[in-house]
Symmetry: C2
Subunit: 354 residues, 2 copies
């Protein structure tokens, strides 16, 4: 730390992204990426855009915004595109939280929420998940706080229904409710249609998971016009050209090839089912995941030990040290072959256990 670093950040612990090791080639099941590359039309669109980099991108991202709005059944003024969904989440913490509007979220959820709160000087509280790792919706009613809920939740994969989300929204009419739908395409229900009914709902999404575009960085927020205006004020006061031309082209091509995304999601869901069954046969307990990962623990081997042994043998999964979930690992769903390799490796590891 330098002697110049602002006092306000001196106790800040930044977010730790999942490992991106370069020491060897892993089967990478640790950061919930897609095992499939985007549709070939995305590659083609990027190649076409690669010849025009000298001019700034359109700061309003008009073409891609219009296309996304149309597909989601909302107006263009109800959409804001960002440099990954971390950016829209940070904007939401900036715009809708402050000392008099604290944040609230589950104790077990996307680990970045507490970091966003801290960097923005926002007080926050964490509500424990119930013992079965589900979210107790009543715990969020009349919170007097800005609510952040990942749906499906991470790292559990457990989803709330749209009507449960709606109850949270109705019972927080004086606060913004942010629903982070990063994983919604793998079996969850999107609550985007509710933005037409409630002025306090912001839904965030990403092209990183179901659309296979983690490497291109594209996220979005959907909410009523006034909420999106506020978020635009933040954007135009921090980084107006936040999305580059290549990513804009890639996003457009992705949306023009939705069948491919739908098919990939179907495959991931099948592979999740396969993986869950195999793990259960091996004695694991799993949460009921609607996401592109499973969350599993085994009675005979600690979460940390399994993670380390898998890593040693070339398979990366994500382990969290947090006490309540330290027995678990979050395992991204890849191809059938990758999941079979994982199962084989786990079998070996379990056989070595006494």
């Amino acid at each position: 730390m330098s002697r110049f670093f602002s006092e306000k950040y001196k106790n800040l612990t930044p977010y730790t992204p999942g490992e991106q090791p370069k020491d060897m080639k892993y089967i990478k099941l640790n950061t919930n990426e897609s095992p499939f590359e985007p549709h070939d039309a995305v590659r083609q669109a990027v190649e076409n855009a690669a010849g025009s980099l000298a001019l700034y991108p359109d700061p309003e991202c008009r073409e891609l915004t219009a296309l996304l709005a149309k597909q989601l059944g909302v107006d263009t003024e109800e959409v804001l595109l960002t440099n990954g969904s971390d950016e829209i989440l940070n904007f939401a913490f900036m715009a809708f939280c402050d000392k008099s509007h604290p944040a609230v979220f589950p104790d077990i959820t996307y680990g970045f929420y507490s970091v966003f709160a801290q960097i923005n000087g926002v007080p926050y509280s964490e509500i424990p998940l119930r013992d079965d790792f589900t979210i107790g919706i009543n715990d969020y009613f009349r919170s007097g706080k800005t609510v952040f809920i990942a749906n499906p939740n991470a790292p559990t994969g457990i989803a709330l229904t749209v009507s449960e989300i709606e109850e949270i929204i109705i019972n927080n009419s004086e606060s913004v409710v942010v629903i982070d739908e990063a994983y919604v395409d793998f079996g969850g229900e999107s609550c985007i249609p509710l933005i037409k009914k409630y002025d306090n709902l912001l839904v965030t999404g990403t092209f990183s998971k179901s659309r296979s575009m983690a490497g291109a960085r594209l996220g979005f927020g959907i909410g009523c016009k006034a909420l999106i205006q506020d978020l635009n004020t933040i954007k135009y006061s921090t980084n107006p050209y936040n999305i580059n031309r290549l990513t804009l082209a890639a996003g457009t091509a992705s949306l023009n090839n939705n069948d491919y995304t739908v098919q990939n999601c179907r495959t991931i869901i099948e592979n999740r089912q396969f993986t869950a069954e195999q793990l259960q046969k091996l004695g694991f307990s799993l949460t009921e995941s609607s996401a592109n990962f499973v969350f599993a623990k085994h009675p005979k081997i600690s979460g940390k030990e399994l993670y380390l042994k898998l890593k040693k043998n070339g398979i990366l999964v994500r382990h969290f040290d947090k006490e309540k979930i330290s027995e678990y690992n979050r395992i991204t769903i890849g191809t059938k072959e990758q999941m079979q390799a994982l199962i084989n490796e786990i079998k070996k590891i379990l056989e070595e256990q006494v």
Copy 2:
């Protein structure tokens, strides 16, 4: 504005980027882009990267950081890459300014500085340029504030020497001095070597101008290890994957083809010389620009009127309403043909003036 927008932003006026109109094809001399596309190797590198978008980019940007560090003669720990240089500037306002460390910058400079200050709740003061639009370095000595200076300055294009910058740094040993070198490659002197001597110097740069990559969004900050650590804390608390794979590939290819950039800068400098001479012949007065633009006014036509007439005739330049400079226009230097077209158009406009 929504009823939920945080009080702290209610008086915020966002930055207004230069126009990116879509109504017709303009000769675009308003946002200081390069008239040349990047080297063909950049296009090629993007095409190669376009097939690998499913995985997150390296959050540490190791390859590109190492290459940039090597070329600039600094260590990798002295470099931070960002999503355009607006992001590194915002990070600097976050990290090194607060209520007890206000910001100071010239009254005429990059218009975003005051917006960054406002969004971060940082008090700021503006020091008037001298009558000839130069920066009086003594005005910044012992400021007790975080100093932001664009060198060359915008929109004047006037540069300070490295020894003048060094005096500002020495005379602010208890504050960070941020030197924004967005335009340095067109005739300015970089003060990057000074980071080895002073722990209070941060230099920012961009690939948008001399490297023709405004559409790809790539900026950077150079400073001592401790300053860069602080900025990394901000990055990892807001958007760890801030640079996408395509831009990383483009940046690497650009650095591997520096001769091309040097040649383009030489051409821009020649075209600037040509443009300045032609404008002077037509009665304009100009500041002495070391950037890829000129800043010019004419005794017979107001800045606004000239801007509007040029726009009507298909040529976009940048006009600022700020009183002190409202008689001027900032004109980006393009190709010789573009500048000739500008001169021809201005001749016509002046002939029509009574």
